[in-house]
């Protein structure tokens, strides 16, 4: 049996974010999943995936919020709470920073027909936009 690559433990923490983004998640719990100290976890996670765990969690929450805006009739507050965010005001401003428009405008930009495109969630989730000034490139694997 080959010992795990260190990034495999980081992936366990990243998977935990993807699975439990709607719950309160703290860095301590994520670092425990990755079997390392918090400081080491934050540094190595950013090196592996291009964002800190906290940034990645927000990226995931906003991405899932965008999916709910496109695919459901939940109102903006319901979307916000559904993805684990507590403040509608900060959700709206974070969303606008990443997607370039308010949640309401984003929803209006997607005609109902778009909902009929049955792209699997795993594919949709892999295309989350990043927080950093709307940059949406894949993590640099250096």
């Amino acid at each position: 049996m080959i010992a795990d690559h260190p990034d495999r433990n980081l992936l366990r923490a990243k998977d935990l974010i993807d699975a439990r983004y709607a719950d309160p998640l703290d860095t301590a719990a994520l670092a425990a999943r990755a079997c390392c100290s918090e400081a080491h976890f934050i540094r190595t996670f950013k090196r592996a995936f291009g964002e800190t765990p906290h940034q990645y969690l927000l990226t995931r929450r906003l991405e899932r919020a965008a999916a709910l805006l496109r695919g459901t009739d939940y109102n903006v507050a319901e979307v916000c709470f559904n993805v684990g965010l507590a403040s509608v005001g900060s959700f709206t401003s974070s969303f606008r920073r990443v997607y370039g428009m308010t949640p309401t405008a984003y929803r209006a930009a997607f005609p109902p027909a778009a909902r009929m495109a049955h792209v699997p969630t795993c594919v949709v989730m892999a295309h989350a936009k990043r927080r950093r000034n709307g940059e949406d490139t894949a993590a640099d694997a250096t």
Partner: protein, 139 residues
């Protein structure tokens, strides 16, 4: 032009570990497990599902398959979870996930109702993403 897809390759970090997972945990049949001395002990390991001819070749990436440096890159891509997903169809997604959870499998996504069916996610020990889909009844 072509008739069927018969084989597809899946990179695995350890073929013994992968065999134990796909055969003993997921219930695949072993279709081929041959080690060829002439090719530097290349191990050809293929698994499939009862009633379907498509096989997954559980493929190692150490020499002789590739050089050490390239193998290290593959290992990192796998460890980060960046390989494309495998998608398996089931009759009952929730029951399948419950059974796999009991067997200690990493669940990456609990079953969720989607327009196309009920869908969940797991990882194999190498870090490959596996999606488990229960198709929606035909309208």
């Amino acid at each position: 032009m072509f008739n069927r897809i018969t084989h597809t390759g899946v990179w695995v970090t350890d073929q013994d570990e992968a065999l134990a997972f796909y055969r003993d945990v997921l219930g695949f049949e072993v279709r081929m497990d041959v080690t060829v001395a002439e090719y530097g002990n290349l191990r050809w390991l293929a698994v499939g599902l009862p009633g379907q001819d498509l096989v997954l070749q559980l493929t190692a990436f150490d020499p002789p398959q590739m050089d050490e440096a390239t193998g290290a890159q593959v290992r990192q891509i796998l460890a980060k979870g960046y390989t494309p997903p495998l998608i398996f169809e089931v009759d009952d997604c929730r029951a399948t996930i419950d059974r796999l959870r009991e067997r200690g499998v990493d669940i990456t996504q609990e079953p969720v109702e989607q327009p196309y069916g009920i869908d969940a996610g797991i990882r194999d020990p190498s870090g490959n993403s596996i999606r488990i889909t229960q198709p929606a009844p035909a309208a």
